[in-house]
């Protein structure tokens, strides 16, 4: 077991092991996503208040969960990379940033598409929407910093620091925004606190959440493999790999 993890830490073995996982992950993720979408879009009952437009939640809610989850993963991987100088953790951290930004963007877009019929407007300065928007800015900052530094190892370590600072700040930002929102306009707009959700809606939602997690894992492994190849382009095993076929 320990040997397995040790091997996973070396770029060469990571490349091989991740490559063998990807087809399986893709298959399971695809099946779960199809099942979840079918259950959510067709089988789940229509909401008595929101009609069919609530169904966007099967995309929206898992993306919103993923947007925060990936930021934490990114900061944790960055911290591991900083502390134990694990190259692979740096690679995972930096490969996660664009995926997390995409999920955040997806959550914002689906939220605003849902908001148009429900609130009658594309955008409301709602506490959750606003903190999601700020989260997107944090992701973009991480990506901008990584792109700006030429030496990729330095860039990965610098972005790790930024991600850790961000992770300390996210709760502060979230609660300050919530506080700002309640003070300024009060929960006049639809407040969907914790409605007791129908089990037939909950199951597709959870299935979609698992599918999205697997999707993240799949994409992060694919991105990390490419990143590893690029970083190790002068290593022997990469040359052999490229020249082999």
């Amino acid at each position: 077991m320990l040997r397995f993890f040790h091997q996973l830490g070396s770029p060469k073995h990571f490349y091989r092991i991740a490559g063998s996982w990807i087809p399986w992950l893709a298959a399971v993720c695809g099946l779960l996503m199809l099942y979840g979408l079918y259950q959510g879009m067709v089988v789940a009952p229509t909401d008595y208040q929101q009609g069919d437009s609530y169904r966007i939640m099967f995309i929206h809610v898992p993306s919103a969960w993923m947007s925060l989850f990936i930021y934490v993963v990114m900061a944790a991987a960055g911290a591991i990379g900083l502390i134990w100088h694990m190259k692979l953790a740096e690679v995972i951290a930096i490969s996660s940033a664009p995926i997390g930004a995409s999920f955040t963007f997806l959550a914002l877009v689906t939220g605003s598409i849902w908001g148009k019929p429900m609130w009658g407007t594309w955008w409301v300065w709602d506490a959750r929407l606003t903190s999601e928007l700020i989260l997107l800015f944090l992701y973009l900052g991480v990506m901008a910093l990584y792109g700006a530094i030429d030496d990729k190892r330095t860039a990965a370590r610098a972005t790790a620091i930024l991600a850790i600072v961000g992770v300390v700040n996210i709760p502060i930002i979230h609660y300050s925004v919530e506080w700002w929102n309640t003070l300024h306009q009060g929960p006049t707009v639809t407040k969907f606190g914790a409605p007791s959700i129908d089990i037939r809606m909950l199951i597709p939602l959870l299935v979609m959440a698992v599918a999205f997690k697997l999707f993240y894992l799949l994409v992060v492994l694919m991105r990390a493999r490419v990143e590893v190849l690029e970083r190790e382009r002068n290593a022997r095993w990469v040359r052999e790999l490229v020249e082999a076929p």
Binding site: F137, A158, I172, V177
Partner: protein, 227 residues
């Protein structure tokens, strides 16, 4: 390393930075001018209705202060980076985080504290009441050090970059949001006659948090940027 020499290093670095800044007096005025100019633009763009102006004054003054603080950040480490002193700090026997803190304190005394001098003037221009101006000064006193401390992390990360300015704003502005929210709301609340102790306590808490954590993060970032 005894504590005495650590204190001495802190005081010496603080003194050095203050003297350096006082020898370039015109540069001291620039962030202040910027602060006043940005605030003046708003009545010109929005209209001179006193009720409207006093309603949006807390936000305007604080956003202008935020931008002024951000624009002046670049000078925290720039000259030390260019003449190599920063590398000397890195290899010195004193912990880098304490030296960083001295530099940030000096920077705040030079660029943050003067904002407090012109803020009452801007408050008068935008028709803030006396109580609101008092609240504005208190929030600036508690809030601008947080801006300098958080900003130092961003500067440390971008100090080696050729075009660090725009990226710095991308990194730092989202982190400034809590300060903006609490401070601007404190000023607005005091204008409405509400108590602002909660706002001030939260700002003070942010200050303590930034004071204790940000020098460590800045030092770590500097080590990476200079490696």
């Amino acid at each position: 390393m005894s504590t005495a020499s650590l204190n001495r290093a802190f005081a010496l670095l603080l003194w050095r930075d203050l003297v350096l800044a006082l020898r370039r007096r015109t540069e001291l005025l620039n962030p202040l001018l910027f602060f006043v100019l940005v605030t003046t633009l708003f009545p010109l763009g929005i209209g001179a209705d006193p009720a409207l102006l006093s309603a949006i004054a807390p936000g305007i003054i604080w956003v202008a202060a935020l931008l002024a603080a951000m624009l002046s950040l670049d000078s925290v480490f720039r000259s030390d980076f260019e003449d190599g002193s920063l590398e000397q700090f890195l290899i010195s026997a004193q912990p880098l985080s304490v030296l960083v803190l001295a530099k940030v304190v000096a920077h705040w005394l030079i660029t943050g504290l003067p904002l407090l001098i012109v803020a009452p003037l801007l408050g008068l221009l935008l028709h803030l009441s006396g109580a609101s101006i008092g609240a504005l000064l208190l929030t600036l006193l508690l809030g601008t050090p947080v801006l300098s401390l958080i900003g130092a992390i961003g500067v440390a990360l971008t100090v080696g970059l050729r075009r660090g300015g725009v990226i710095l704003s991308l990194l730092v502005l989202p982190l400034y949001i809590p300060v903006l929210i609490f401070a601007a709301d404190a000023v607005a609340s005091s204008g409405a006659g509400l108590p602002i102790t909660a706002h001030l306590s939260l700002l003070a808490a942010l200050l303590v948090l930034a004071l204790s954590l940000s020098p460590l993060a800045t030092a770590a970032a500097l080590k990476i940027s200079l490696s």
